[in-house]
């Protein structure tokens, strides 16, 4: 059984079909890239999978269960975590609390435990603190735990978003342009980080990215979208030699000239 199976997913915004008949099957442990020109509907697919917007039609089956109609927080708790294209950290919270806030989803305690700081609360909080430190170590931010998230440099903010997503103990991680705005050295270390967390936390990763270096390097399989539709699918090599893909990216003339 595939971990995630998206069938015939469509989304209309008014008269505009943003996503049309989107199909995707992901097996446990895969890294799949989702690429396409700006406005192709990639982020809309993420928003549909995470339940932020309801699909017009189609189904999203995760571990044998249809997610359509569930509120975002329930989908997240089932094991789908994401990062955002335009970083959405809890900016005025400390780096540590950005991670801790999400750790509670699986490590909760009751209202009265919290109000009275009961022994159960103390025990859980110690676990949460240790776990948060561990996750911050993974992304190399353990020394900045006190600082407000907004004070981090751009690349670190992206990494903190990944740590925060990992706090959810996801099975499927959706990364929306994780390398946007990074310099080549940061991209290299990000590539390594994604490989590392994929193995360490046994993740399945679906990532949107424009930096082809990272995509070609990481992904075993690439799905290309344009105008809401899948126009090609295959290994990095197949996709990068597909004339339809080149046309979508560079325009019709580019392909003709090449021939």
């Amino acid at each position: 059984m595939p971990l995630l199976e998206v069938r015939d997913l469509c989304k209309d915004f008014g008269g505009l079909r943003a996503v049309s008949n989107f199909q995707l099957k992901m097996e446990q442990g895969e890294i799949v890239g989702l690429i396409g020109p700006n406005g192709a509907g990639k982020t809309t697919v993420f928003n549909l999978i995470t339940g932020l917007i309801p699909p017009t039609s189609g189904s999203i089956i995760f571990q044998g269960e249809n997610l359509v109609g569930l509120p975002p927080y329930r989908i997240a708790a089932k094991g789908i975590a994401r990062t955002f294209q335009n970083i959405r950290l809890f900016k005025d919270m400390s780096v540590l609390d950005n991670v801790r806030a999400i750790l509670h989803v699986h490590n909760g305690y009751g209202f009265w435990d919290a109000a009275l700081h009961s022994p159960r609360f103390a025990k859980k909080e110690e676990e949460i603190l240790a776990r948060a430190r561990e996750l911050l170590e993974v992304v190399n931010l353990e020394t900045r735990s006190r600082d407000p998230a907004r004070s981090l440099p751009y690349g670190d903010q992206r990494r903190l978003e990944i740590a925060r997503a990992l706090a959810l103990r996801p099975k499927l991680l959706l990364l929306d342009e994780p390398a946007a705005g990074m310099n080549p050295r940061e991209v290299a270390s990000l590539t390594e980080l994604i490989r590392f967390i994929k193995d360490k936390f046994q993740l399945t990763v679906l990532l949107i990215e424009h930096q082809m270096g990272l995509v070609m390097n990481l992904c075993e399989r690439i799905v290309v979208m344009d105008f809401g539709e899948i126009i090609a699918e295959g290994t990095p090599h197949e996709v990068s030699n597909n004339p339809v893909v080149l046309e979508a990216y560079l325009g019709k003339g580019a392909v003709v000239n090449r021939c």
Partner: protein, 346 residues
């Protein structure tokens, strides 16, 4: 190493609790001594009690607006609901017994919470400004209902106000209720609840997508904050012999809002200090301006708010939180990192 660290933290936590307890007890003792020595007369004792009651209500709004980021302009309505609920129980059934007083406080708190719950489910979907308008409207409804309450039940007094509630609440009760509230609020802020509220204030969509049940936490914050307003109202009813709908109108809501904004959004220490200073400032102005104070009040409020928002939009206490209030474990937490004012949000 980890175990050693935990033991160390627990020891520091015990020291913190002992220090905090000692400080609060000595503060109580000092105030009692001053009042016994005759240095605090009946008038200033009333002002001090009002300051503490306002603190309880303001802490409620601090949770709702300062931490959870839900802009409420109707806080005084819940203060009024608590006051009238507790008051009518005292007036009709009790002859000043302590048990009834405590039961009435509980009833006032629960009534405010319950109405907040019913109101919160539909209106907490709204975002900042819209939520402000909805709560403002609710405040007006409550005031009008209180003014006409004698038509449903004459002892409520309607527009002439309600008298005849036994004056059971003294400084001791009010002081320890304030301390209890303060500890309860600090404990919650330093827990998953506080972090969830902050995450909603910071970015509701991200919180939702990352597994936080934002609706539930927003309603919890609203119900709890309004419940505290109800508790404050109950104490008010048993401390001051006269309840009138105009004590619970929009201007009073604005009082609470000013305290929370001036103190710095997301700062408990700021809320407490500003609440106390605010009440004393108003009394001071009342003495200086005399009868003219009532006319000038609106102007003074507006000037103070404009000046603060221009000069110090993050509030007086942003960036500082009294560390003793929060567990040692939490020193890497978000304490004192200020929030933004609703209108400044993008």
């Amino acid at each position: 190493m980890e175990r050693y660290f935990c033991t160390l933290l627990r020891r520091r936590e015990r020291v913190r609790l002992a220090l905090l307890g000692g400080l609060l007890a000595s503060l109580y003792g000092a105030l009692k001594l001053l009042s016994l020595a005759g240095l605090i007369n009946e008038y200033w004792q009333r002002v001090l009690d009002q300051a503490l009651i306002t603190t309880i209500g303001a802490l409620g709004l601090s949770i709702i607006y300062g931490f959870a980021g839900q802009f409420s302009l109707g806080h005084a309505a819940f203060y009024g609901i608590g006051a009238y609920t507790a008051g009518i129980i005292g007036k009709v059934w009790s002859q000043g017994s302590i048990t009834f007083f405590l039961l009435a406080l509980l009833a006032g708190t629960l009534a405010a919470s319950f109405i907040a719950f019913l109101l919160g489910i539909p209106i907490l979907r709204l975002r900042s400004d819209y939520l402000g308008i909805a709560t403002l409207g609710f405040g007006v409804i409550v005031r009008v209902a209180l003014e006409n309450s004698n038509r449903f039940y004459p002892p409520l007094g309607g527009a002439t106000g309600m008298t005849g509630i036994p004056q059971v609440a003294n400084f001791d009760w009010i002081f320890w209720f304030t301390v209890g509230t303060l500890i309860l609020v600090c404990n919650l802020i330093a827990s998953s609840y506080g972090r969830a509220w902050l995450s909603i204030r910071e970015d509701e969509m991200a919180a939702d997508t990352l597994g936080i049940n934002t609706t539930r936490y927003k309603i919890t914050a609203f119900v709890l904050g309004c419940g505290l307003a109800g508790l404050a109202g109950g104490l008010y009813a048993y401390r001051y012999p006269y309840l009138h709908p105009s004590s619970f109108d929009f201007l009073k809501s604005f009082d609470f809002l000013l305290i929370v904004v001036l103190g710095g959004l997301g700062s408990i220490s700021g809320t407490v200090v500003t609440a106390i200073c605010w009440v004393f400032l108003l009394e001071g102005l009342r003495i200086i301006l005399g009868q003219a104070f009532v006319d000038w009040r609106g102007v003074i409020y507006a000037v103070i708010l404009i000046v603060t928002v221009l000069l110090r939009p993050q509030g007086l206490f942003s960036g500082k939180e009294w560390r003793l209030l929060f567990p040692s474990r939490d020193q890497d937490g978000t304490w004192g990192k200020e929030g933004k004012h609703a209108s400044l949000r993008g």
